[in-house]
């Protein structure tokens, strides 16, 4: 960000007298605003798409009244949420009750910072990108737990407890399933991971096809991430038919809206990580977008990235509208007896593979056979 600020100061003579830190700060705020707008738009559109997909799958139409073909439904929903009365239960812990939605929203929004949207489109290319995402999204647990506790509602409390147990247990398989990508790239930075999947192999350069173990990692991560973002079949913290609405049962208006937005934000983050770590990220197949002029290169790679990400989001919705929900003990069993051992075995497999074949994947080996 600072380098960008320096080049900006150099380019625009008007800014010559302004201290460098001010420019940097302003630039950061501007970037944050752009990402916020993007996140909110995605979350709005995501909710619309979710309902449309649900409609299609369930042999009905879905929202189609607001705007052409229901396109503006999410705006109507948003306006409704903002205008609704903000109710705080009489015996709630008011401070924590108000604080909880922000925790959840911040946790999901802050992860957008390291999402590699394009060749140069990344708010902060942290060298600990993946760890940052995992750390920041864990903030959601605190928010959910606070919400459940502060509501002074036993259903909400149960939802909060479930969420805490669930997210904490699934943190391990999520991390373990992502490590193969880190091993292959040799870096925790998401940009580096994406770049490692570029090259002349096209889609066979993706980590997904690198070796059998990475192939499995993709599905393991997908499953574990579904659980971490509380999507069906792992939507126990919400569990509409059991806990009514779980931790957010007492929330209304914009506070509920924040939970709602965070849910879609999480969905995007998971899909983005899937894309970045396994599906080649913003890499345009058989083409190096970095060679194009800055603006076109970035636009092209952004398009590729978003296409892949949205496809993954759609698949997540598809799963969501097909499967029933697990029970709490089954959820825990799934994490500790299935996903954790499998991800460890997988990690071992990837490490051995990399050691034995000196970092080469199957497509790479085949390619080198043919010169």
């Amino acid at each position: 960000m600072e380098t960008l600020a320096i080049s900006l100061v150099n380019a625009v003579p008007l800014l010559a007298g302004v201290p460098l830190w001010t420019v940097t700060l302003l630039l950061m705020v501007a970037v944050a605003a752009v990402i916020l707008v993007f996140a909110l738009t995605f979350e709005g559109v995501g909710s619309l798409v979710l309902r449309k997909v649900a409609g299609d799958i369930q042999a009905r139409i879905g929202p189609n009244r607001v705007g052409p073909n229901g396109m503006l439904q999410f705006l109507a929903d948003g306006v409704k949420l903002v205008l609704k009365e903000d109710i705080i239960p009489a015996n709630a812990d008011r401070l924590l009750f108000k604080l909880a939605p922000y925790f959840v929203f911040v946790g999901s929004f802050a992860a957008f910072v390291v999402v590699p949207f394009g060749v140069g489109l990344i708010a902060a290319d942290l060298n600990i990108g993946i760890y940052y995402v995992m750390a920041v999204t864990s903030l959601v647990v605190i928010g959910v737990l606070l919400a459940g506790w502060a509501s002074n509602n036993k259903w909400a409390l149960l939802g909060g407890m479930r969420a805490a147990a669930q997210i904490v247990s699934y943190e391990i398989p999520v991390g373990m399933a992502l490590i193969p990508a880190v091993l292959i790239a040799g870096s925790l930075s998401l940009q580096d991971i994406v770049r490692s999947q570029g090259g002349l192999l096209g889609i066979f350069g993706w980590n997904l096809f690198h070796n059998p173990f990475t192939f499995f990692s993709f599905f393991l991560y997908f499953t574990a991430a579904q659980a971490e973002t509380n999507q069906t079949p792992f939507d126990l913290p919400e569990a509409e038919s059991e806990l009514v609405s779980g931790y957010n049962v007492e929330y209304s208006g914009i506070r509920f809206g924040l939970f709602f937005l965070a849910e879609f934000g999480d969905m995007f983050i998971v899909a983005a990580l899937l894309t970045a770590c396994f599906l080649g990220g913003w890499n345009v197949p058989f083409f190096n977008a970095g060679t194009l002029p800055w603006i076109w290169g970035n636009l092209l790679s952004l398009g590729v990235f978003l296409t892949k990400t949205f496809t993954m989001v759609l698949v997540m919705m598809w799963v969501r509208w097909t499967l029933p929900r697990l029970r709490v003990d089954q959820l825990m069993r799934m994490s500790w007896k299935y996903l954790v051992p499998l991800t460890f075995v997988n990690l071992l497999g990837v490490s051995l593979w990399l050691l034995v074949f000196r970092g080469k994947g199957i497509p790479g080996m085949i390619a080198s056979l043919f010169g």
Partner: protein
């Protein structure tokens, strides 16, 4: 749990999930599978014999009271007076459709098929009173009563006169029978007469208030009828 069972579990989970997802995907992509009826714009075909709002054709109704008796929840109320020709004349017929459960028992018992189900099913209202259908406007009831009373009185007077004339016609016969008939007719006329008079005394005031023309015959035709298309009213109100 052996390793085989463990792996079997995983495979089974994946296979059954895939099966389910194949079905949902088929519905997801096939637009023909959408079954939603876009209600206010599209409507389903209402079959014959649909049990919608009740409608009573008061011109055919004989005020036999069967529907009132059979209604399990007493949502029909009816008031009638005995007319000049000994038939009952309706002076009010109300159905509380807020209470009606559309069971159709009343329609089934109606001997002249004047009470029927329409195909109307839409009605929105903000007051419960609006849900009571008046097939004869409440303000017309006194007018109808007055008219019927007058007709009854007229008929009674006529009958008395006829009887008297009959009695006068056959004085020569002098039989006790004829005298008896004449006597009876007179007595009947006398019985009938005072009552209508008493009513007639009240009636003008009521009639005036309601501004019902006392032209008698025209009234029956004029008696306001609630249109069968109640649904339209509901739409207007929306």
């Amino acid at each position: 749990m052996g390793l085989k069972a463990y792996l079997n579990d995983i495979v089974e989970a994946v296979v059954t999930t895939a099966k389910g997802m194949r079905i949902t995907a088929r519905y997801g992509v096939d637009p023909k599978e959408e079954v939603t009826l876009q209600y206010p714009e599209e409507r389903w075909e209402i079959p014959k014999g649909y049990r919608g709002f009740l409608h009573n054709d008061i011109k055919t109704c004989t005020a036999c009271n069967m529907c009132v008796k059979v209604c399990p929840i007493d949502c029909i109320s009816l008031e009638s007076v005995r007319g000049a020709d000994k038939k009952m004349v309706l002076c009010s017929y109300d159905i509380n459709i807020g209470r009606c459960m559309y069971c159709g028992l009343c329609v089934e018992v109606c001997p002249v098929n004047s009470l029927l189900h329409t195909s109307g099913y839409e009605m929105a209202s903000v007051a419960r009173g609006e849900l009571i259908l008046h097939f004869i406007a409440a303000e017309d009831a006194p007018g109808i009563k007055a008219r019927v009373a007058r007709q009854v009185a007229e008929a009674a007077v006529k009958a008395a006169a006829q009887a008297a004339a009959k009695a006068a016609e056959v004085p020569s016969s002098g039989t006790a029978e004829a005298a008896k008939v004449a006597e009876a007719a007179k007595a009947e006329a006398a019985k009938a007469a005072p009552k209508p008079e008493a009513q007639a005394a009240e009636a003008p005031a009521a009639a005036k208030a309601a501004e019902v023309p006392s032209s008698g015959t025209a009234e029956a035709a004029k008696a306001p009828v609630v249109e069968p298309t109640v649904a339209k009213e509901g739409e207007k109100k929306e």
